[in-house]
């Protein structure tokens, strides 16, 4: 974790949708490394025989999942034309990978994605209207110990510790904020699996990551985007 003295880190928010969701996290990193190099902006590099960009990504997203709000931080050598940076970067992207905005981070912002605390996921259902009571009951529990299998390993978690809030947006959409810290990241599909176990009849058609949050000094969640001056 380094704190840059000067205002020299740009945080990019990006979307990922369509066929490119099948590209894994490491390959998305490689994609952006090349895109940054192509764009010609004056990014900072490490020293040595094979210099690398000083680039860090937030919480990895599983293969096959869409996102409206993922981020990476890029350390700069000198600042580019911030008014055009989103457009210039998008010229180097492909269909389905899109820079949404760029934030010139405040001087005191922790550079590096260890600051991520929570994530919003947006779930799409066939019809939620008959399950509203059940959903409310589910999220109102003090504890919900849930056992699930991921990668052939049985995991047990108290989901209520890692689910922060939920919001039914309409009959088909629900937003849930969960723990996304490196220590306690809750995968989005665990929530729907638990809801189905709990008795929900509605079928989850798909879900996508909506945004990522850090916490301010009082512990309130702040979108990673809002840690500096935002350029659209």
């Amino acid at each position: 974790m380094t704190v840059k003295a000067k205002n020299m880190v740009i945080r990019f928010k990006f979307k990922k949708f369509g066929p490119v969701i099948y590209i894994g996290h490491l390959d998305i990193m490689r994609f952006f490394q090349k895109a940054i190099r192509r764009s010609g902006i004056d990014a900072a590099y490490t020293e040595g025989f094979s210099p690398h960009l000083k680039l860090s990504f937030a919480q990895p997203l599983s293969v096959g999942v869409e996102t409206d709000g993922d981020y990476f931080d890029l350390e700069m050598n000198s600042l580019p034309d911030m008014e055009n940076i989103v457009k210039d970067m998008n010229a180097q992207c492909v269909e389905g990978i899109e820079i949404v905005n760029a934030t010139l981070l405040d001087d005191d912002t922790v550079n590096g994605m260890s600051s991520v605390k929570a994530a919003d996921y947006l779930y799409y259902f066939d019809d939620l209207s008959k399950d509203l009571k059940l959903i409310e009951a589910f999220f109102s529990q003090e504890t919900f110990i849930f056992e699930y299998v991921r990668k052939d390993k049985v995991k047990t978690k108290d989901l209520m510790e890692d689910i922060y809030e939920y919001r039914i947006l309409n009959d088909k959409e629900m937003l849930v904020k969960v723990n996304a810290s490196s220590a306690g990241n809750l995968k989005a599909d665990v929530v729907t699996e638990a809801l189905e176990k709990y008795g929900m009849k509605a079928k989850c058609i798909k879900f996508k990551r909506h945004d990522l949050y850090t916490a301010d000094d009082e512990g309130a969640f702040v979108s990673l985007r809002d840690k500096g001056k935002v350029y659209d």
């Binding site: 066929p19 490119v20 099948y22 590209i23 390959d27 190099r37 192509r38 010609g40 590099y45």
Partner: protein
């Protein structure tokens, strides 16, 4: 929004789904309504291998520069997806449009190595295109083969409608124009193929008949229709300065085997090593001007974002302006934070200086390819690298701080004796000794590390060694064993590491390299019995192949160890590569006499390739 041919569930099941989604940066999408010809280019191996191939990128750039053509790509699905596609009857699709290949006009398959032949059948079958050319109808795509293995296309002749012999930049436009004309006139496949056969470089196997002698050697080639020529002339791009080049290369999402820019500096090679097929096929030698290369390098660095650039040619040390090019690249790449991956250069003060600038000396190693251990054997193969040059190069490198040396050799070369094999070990020992004699004890930071690798020599068509008998599997094993024990007998054996290649696959490669049309059925049977991805050790199943040869009553030894007479007609003799059979014969005889032939930049040896009138080093 682009679609995917495969469902979400399938893409979530298979390994590396990004192999199948297309949409890479610099990949080309066109509107189907605006084009006349849909061409699908195939490398019959997995995506990461296929995407590393420069040739396809060149042709992709060329085809897509044609307004009436949309060129897309396809690679072999990995066995996990292969099974799913068969089980669910999903037709193989092109990456860009995700449309089934069976709906295309052309399927062009590059033939880079013999062991990909079963993968060709996989691509055809998954595409739901009849495997045998004779079973295809007007609605099926025209299946074209090209690349180095097309210079002996006979083992796979029955699977292809057309082979393109030579460099793709030259005749494809004429072929596409003919196709459009035929479409306008009411298309018939047969008529198109007949007319295509008249274009230079185009070979239509169904129009040439091969007649055999009783012993299965070839008696003659005859035309099946009047007006079909029984010789096919290789096509050569005469001017590399304004030929198509992929200055906007497709950038794969997943890491390809060659994860870097490839800058092709020249074609052809003046050295005339007698085992080397590329050295003969790509004659005459042609270079790209250094200013053109600088411009390509700049454009490709800007358009790709790659972190590394690699110079490609058969013999980069022979590129006349190499020094200027490398010094320029070092400056430019340093500024752009791009690494230079050097080709294997003749070791001298300049190359060591350059290597020291672009690599970490502690990690990098020095590479020599003496190919044979003894000077006698190096004269036989015409490898103009002497022991003195290797030792002097090593000495300079040791003084410069290197302590790792890699040496590449071949086993089973024609006229090879046990002494020649033992000489491999002795040469390694001499290099090790050179280290200890060059550096006083206090300057030796680490022990010297020498890696000797051997591959088995496989005689290839259009080389002076096309007449040579390949050694048997047992001989190969004995030779590898002798190499190993000889290395272990050396004083510095602990500093020498020895690697060798698999033997089974070398035998099969030898069969296909000099094979004839009788092998199509063997390849088909082996494929139907489960042979696929033969170039991959984990998938290669020798027993399937043995059974396929057995079932067809074909003896592999006919193609490998059999002695060939000087006047034998070879299956590939109907192809004219410029280099004459007479020249190859002279070279074969000189090899037996241990006589060398000069670098053709110094003296023309009359190989015949100058008839193309290309390149400034070939004189008429």
């Amino acid at each position: 929004m682009r679609k995917t041919a495969l469902s979400h569930d399938i893409l979530m099941t298979v390994d590396k789904p990004a192999r199948y989604i297309g949409g890479e940066f610099n990949s080309v999408n066109k509107n189907k309504e605006d084009i006349d010809i849909r061409f699908c280019m195939c490398f019959p191996d997995v995506y990461e291998i296929g995407m590393s191939h420069l040739g396809i990128q060149i042709l992709y750039a060329m085809f897509n520069s044609f307004e009436d053509t949309w060129c897309e790509r396809v690679y072999s699905p990995w066995p996990d997806l292969d099974k799913i596609m068969r089980d669910n009857n999903i037709p193989l699709f092109a990456l860009e449009s995700q449309d089934p290949i069976k709906d295309f006009d052309f399927l062009g398959i590059t033939l880079q190595y013999e062991m990909c032949y079963t993968n060709i059948l996989q691509v055809l079958e998954l595409s739901q295109i009849p495997i045998w050319a004779k079973d295809r109808s007007n609605d099926d795509p025209i299946v074209i083969g090209g690349g180095p293995c097309a210079y002996n296309p006979e083992p796979i002749a029955d699977f292809f409608d057309i082979f393109y012999i030579g460099e793709g930049e030259v005749s494809y436009r004429a072929l596409l124009d003919l196709y459009k004309e035929c479409k306008k006139e009411g298309y018939s496949r047969e008529d198109f193929l007949f007319r295509a056969a008249k274009i230079d470089g185009i070979y239509v196997p169904s129009l040439i008949e091969v007649k055999y002698n009783d012993d299965f050697t070839i008696k003659e080639f005859t035309a099946k229709k009047e007006g079909v020529s029984i010789t096919v002339k290789k096509e050569v791009e005469t001017n590399l300065n304004d030929s198509y080049y992929p200055v906007k290369p497709i950038i794969p999402f997943i890491k390809a085997t060659q994860d870097r820019i490839t800058l092709e500096i020249m074609r052809g090679c003046p050295r005339g090593c007698r085992f080397c097929q590329a050295g003969q096929l790509y004659r005459p030698i042609r270079t790209r001007d250094v200013e053109v290369l600088k411009d390509f390098a700049r454009q490709m660095i800007e358009n790709s974002g790659y972190e590394e650039i690699n110079l490609s040619s058969l013999s980069s040390s022979d590129y006349p302006e190499l020094k200027e090019l490398i010094l320029y690249l070092i400056d430019y790449c340093n500024e752009k934070k791009v690494n230079i991956s050097l080709p294997s250069l003749r070791i001298d003060a300049f190359s060591l200086d350059v290597m020291g600038k672009v690599q970490d000396i502690k990690k990098s190693s020095l590479t020599f390819a003496p190919e044979a251990g003894s000077q006698r054997m190096r004269n036989v193969i015409n490898k103009g690298l002497t022991e003195e040059q290797i030792l002097e190069g090593s000495r300079l490198a040791f003084l410069g701080g290197w302590n790792k040396v890699k040496l590449y050799f071949m086993l089973g070369l024609p006229f090879e004796t046990d002494e020649d094999v033992v000489a491999i070990a002795e040469l390694c020992e001499k290099v090790a000794k050179e280290y200890y004699e060059t550096l006083p004890k206090e300057q030796r930071k680490q022990r010297v590390s020498i890696t000797a690798s051997t591959s088995f020599f496989i005689p290839k068509p259009f080389t002076p060694f096309q007449w040579a008998s390949q050694f048997s599997l047992e001989d190969f094993r004995d030779k590898a064993y002798l190499t190993r024990t000889s290395i272990m007998a050396q004083l510095n054996q602990r500093s020498i590491k020895y690697n060798w290649h698999d033997t089974d696959v070398s035998v099969l490669e030898g069969v296909f390299a000099r094979g004839d049309r009788r092998l199509s059925k063997v390849i088909y049977d082996a494929y139907k019995n489960g042979a696929i991805y033969d170039a991959w050790n984990d998938y290669f199943k020798y027993d399937i192949w043995l059974k396929a040869f057995d079932d067809n009553n074909i003896d592999m030894k006919f193609y490998t160890v059999r002695k060939r007479e000087l006047d034998e007609i070879f299956p590939w003799d109907f192809i004219d590569i410029g280099v004459t059979k007479e020249y190859l014969k002279r070279e074969w005889i000189k090899a037996s006499e241990e006589k060398t032939t000069e670098n053709c930049m110094i003296k023309c040896n009359g190989c015949g390739a100058n008839k193309y009138g290309a390149g400034k080093f070939c004189f008429r």
